[in-house]
Each structure stands twice: as structure tokens, then as C-alpha cells.
């Protein structure tokens, strides 16, 4: 076996790296706020889409805020140590 392919050491020094879940949480949280506020503002004059009476934006905004908030809090840097 070509030993040169095995030379590079495997490093495990990344335990201080912010987990990807934190980034996901932050982005989903912000998206949730934007979508919820936009949908609430348009509540009485919803966009001309099919099933507009279901106010999908409000439900989606709430889900995103809950999901994003959960991930953000769970993986918040100071809470990890």
C-alpha cells in the first residue's frame, strides 16, 4: 500500500467548532420571524393564492420559529460547555 497516502494525520481538534445545527437554528429563527410578520401584516388581505384562507404563512412562521428557536438555544455556544 502506498504509505504516502496515509501520512496525513487525522485530527480531532474541532470540538470548539460551532455545530452546524446552531447556524441552521439561527437562520430558521430569522426566517420564521420574517414569514410570520409578513403573513400577519397581510392577514386581512391575503395574497391571491389557492387556500389563502388557511394562512399557511402564519403556520409556517410559527413552525420555523419553534424549530429555529429550539436549535438556537440547544446549540448556543455558551450553553455547550
Amino acid at each position: 500500500m502506498d504509505e504516502s497516502l496515509k501520512e496525513i494525520p487525522v485530527q480531532h481538534r474541532h470540538h470548539r467548532m460551532l455545530p452546524v445545527w446552531f447556524f441552521i437554528g439561527v437562520l430558521l429563527l430569522i426566517y420564521g420571524v420574517i414569514i410570520l410578520l409578513t403573513s400577519l401584516r397581510n392577514f386581512h388581505q391575503p395574497a391571491t393564492v389557492v387556500l389563502a384562507n388557511f394562512h399557511a404563512g402564519i403556520w409556517a412562521g410559527i413552525v420555523l420559529i419553534l424549530l429555529g428557536g429550539l436549535y438556537t438555544l440547544k446549540f448556543w455556544p455558551r450553553r455547550r460547555h
Binding site: L5, Q11, V49, L51, A56, G57
Partner: protein, 569 residues
Amino acid sequence: MSFVLPALWLSEGGRLISLTVPDLSIIVLYFAMVLGIGLYLRKFSSTSDDFFMAGRDMTAWVAGLSFLSANLGALELMGWAAAAYQYGILATHFYWIAAFPSMVFLGLVMMPFYYISKTHSVPGYLQLRYGESTRALSGISFAFMTVLMSGINMYAMALVMKVVLGWNIHFSIWVSSLTVAAYVTLGGLYSAIFNEVLQFFLIWLGALTIPILGLIEAGGWNGLVARIHERVQGDYTHLWGPLGSFSSNPMGVHWTGILFGLGGVIAFGYWTTDFLVVQRAMAAQDLRSAKMAPIIASYFKMIVPLIVILPGLLALAVLPFNLVPESAVGPGLHSYNEVLPLMLARYCGPGLLGLGVTALIAGFMSGMAGNVSAFATVWTYDIYRPYMNRRGTDKHYVRVGRWSTIVGVIASIGTAYLVTHFKSIMDYMQALVSFFIAPLFGTVILGMLWKRGTAKGGFWGLLTGTLASIGMYTAVVIHPAWLRYVALSTDAKPMAENLYRALWSWLICVFVTVGVSMFTTPKPAEELQGLVRAYTIIPSDGDLPLHKRPIFWGVGVAVLFAVLQIIFW
């Protein structure tokens, strides 16, 4: 699955969707986040193991979601939604039989060899197992294909953005490619994987509105089926029932083609040997995580039809107009390929629409980043290092990796512009991909499971299988009547031809590899340790609790698969 996507490009007509300020804010925030992640991860990508293999430090979940996301490009989303509109639920075969068996096989059987050999790439494994010539053939063809694929994805994305949003093609190409170049160059595979996991969430959350609201509008699954039967003739809602003959289904394929060609060869070739996806599993932190990564991905792959196939079927049921083939598009008409944006526009108001469009952009960028990061690794480890500079330092190879990322993106942009002038390239692209994938699977699997396979056998098997595939394709182009010999029927359509051609080229590769190996000298046993089943001690999972064993989850997805086949038979 991107290896046999239906051709996807859109007419350059008027826009389908108008975005508001909240929509645009969501898109801009997405770009800011992916670039921010790249900048943040730069400091963690100083060694070549960090840059090319993400430090081999990914958990099973991160590696698994990234594994799937690298495949889940927007071409995939939009192409298969269009295919579902054309072919009905038959398109789901490309997510079920073409995914779970091969992904579980990769995890349980093949991943130990990739992982234990500590290779950096699939061509790297071939070098260890067979020798330089097989690596060179595989590495060069992979690098060539990857750049072409990336460029074609880029062009398709730009065209989608033009049709859907009215964006300028050059703007879309340059903004998306520079963003991908920036974050992959900065953070290497770390950055690509982090962004792929992020993109996975965005794709799901952005697209999920369509099946939920669509099923409400259609009156549930039963209502959907009833509406489809009212509007179109033929069986669009059964998986296996219509596959008794080539002419009894809209895809023009026989069940043997789906079972052996798609599920048996193309799927195994793609999921187990395409370095674009395998690289993600190889970046896992330990062998168990590496084995679990494709198995975790297989569960999500099984439910991807919810956001891809179901929207296509819903469009068949609820859209008040019929979509047409690309060639028939005219004023006021929409093509099959516009089905996903049309359904987004149907259900999503301001804000949600931005999330849906971001899902499409995320899909394109995850596919592009996957191609570019895999290209950089194969170029650096399998072309540059062995053939141009064997004595470079670790830092030197990281620098080469960053530069090859940029070169890969530039080459992709060049390909994108080439395609704008020669759109027929896209017709050949799917065929080109299938030329290399099917025989490569024959070479790799024989290498792992058959100790007698020799260097000459591996090389000539791979070369012959590839040439045979090209030969069959060319023969049918020149003499269309010869389709009856390749696909076993004059009723077969291009999709069926792809499946059977893959099957024959794999068989040819296997026969030639075995034949040549029987007359040449194999490597000594000590050189094959960690590479071939007979000479490798694979750590047992027997000491793990049942719920942590990869085999347990592999059986679980098999049961899920069986249940779905029965339900939709």
C-alpha cells in the same frame, strides 16, 4: 437521482413569480449565511485532511444529511417533479429501488473498505487495489464529468431563475458560482458539508408547503387518485402494475429494466462509487458513523418523493391547464419542467414564496458545491500529486486544493456558457454520466470482494465496459432501429435504453475483469490487506446495543421499502 434525470431546461419566456421585499430578504440572508459559514470555517481548514476530508470528524447525522443533500440538487427536484407529471408515480422508482438497496449496501459492505484503507477518494482506492493506470482512468474521467455536470447545473439554474423570477442569466451564473467558489475555497469540505446540511433543511421546509396544501385541495390521496383518473388516461398511480410490458406504461420501460438496470446497476454504481456522495461518508468520525451515514440518508431519500413526486402528481390533479413538452411551449403555455415553480406560486404567498425559491437556489448550490469539492479532492490527490508533484508539503496541497476549487468553478462557468450556445450537450450529458458509472461499479465491487482480481483485469475491465457503453449509445444514435438490441424492445424509450445500456456495460466490465484476471498475476496478499474482503478484518458491531448497529437500521429501511411497494404496487 441525477444520473438519469430527464432533460431539464426551460424556455426563455416571461417570469412566473414576482418576489416581494420579504422574499428577497430571505434570499439575501441565505447568501449571507452560506458565505458567513465559509468565513467562519476557514480557520479550521488548515491541513489537507481538514480541507479535503473535513478532518474525518463528522458525526453520522451530519455526514448522512450531507450525503443526501449533495445529491438533492434543484435539477433533481425540478426534473423529477416534471417526470412525475409526465410518468406518474413510476418516477418514484428512482427514489426507492434506486436508492435504499444500494445505499444500505454501501454502508454495510463497501464503506468498511473505503474507510479502513484510509484512502481520500474512490480513484485513490482503485490505485491501492489495482494500480496507477486504473486510478488515472477513473480520476481523469471523474474530474472531466464533475466539471461538466457542475457547469450544466449552473446553466440550468440560471435558466430557471430567468424563467421563474426574470433574473438575468449572467447575473445568476456569476452570483451563484462566486458564492460557491468563495465558501468552498475558504472552508473546504467542512464548508461544503455544513452548507449542505443547512441546504437540506431549507429544501425540505421550502418545498413542504406544496404537498400539504396540495393534498388538502385535492381531498387527500384518494381524492388525488380520483382526479388524476378523471383527467388523464393510463395508470399514473401504481408502481409495478403497469410494468408488465414496454408499451403499457408512459415511461416505456419493462420491470426487468427497473429491477436490474436501475436498481441493480445504475443505482449501485452511483451511490457506491460516485465520489461526489461517497466523499461525505468518508468524512465521518469513525467506521460506525461512516457505515451509518448512507443508511441515515436512505431513510430521507425514501421520503423525498413527498416533496418531488407528489407535487408532480398534484399538478396533474389540480392545475386548471395542461403542461406541455418543452418543444411545444408557446405563448400562454407552460412546460413540464415548470411544474414545481407553478405549484409554489399556486400555494405560497409573500415570505413563503421566498423560502420556496431559496429552497431551489439551495438545491442548485449544494449540488454545485458537491461537484466542486469532489473535483478539488480528486484533482489534488489523484492527478496533481501522483503525476505532477509528489513531494509537496501538506500546506502546498491545501493551496493546490483551494486553487483547484477556483479552477473547477471557472471551468464550470465555461461549461455553462458552452451549453448556452450548444444546448444539445445536455442531451448527451446523462448518457455521458452513465458511460462511467456502471462499469466503475463492476471494477470497485470486484476489487473489494474478489481477491483474485488483478491490476490488468481491473484496468481492462473498466476501459472495456466504458467503451462498450459509448459504443452502444453511438450505435443507437446512428441506427435508431438497433434500440431493439440494446433495450430488448422497439417500444423502449430513451429512459429504458439508459437502464439496459448500464446493465450490459456492467456485465461486460465484470466478464472482462474476471477473464483478464484469470490469465494475469494478482497482487500478493500483504498488499491487499484492508482492501479486499478476504484479507481484511472488519471490526464487528456485535458489542453495540441493537439500536446502534448499522445492520438494525438497514433492516428497518428495508421493511419501510417493502411496505411502500405493497401500498403502491
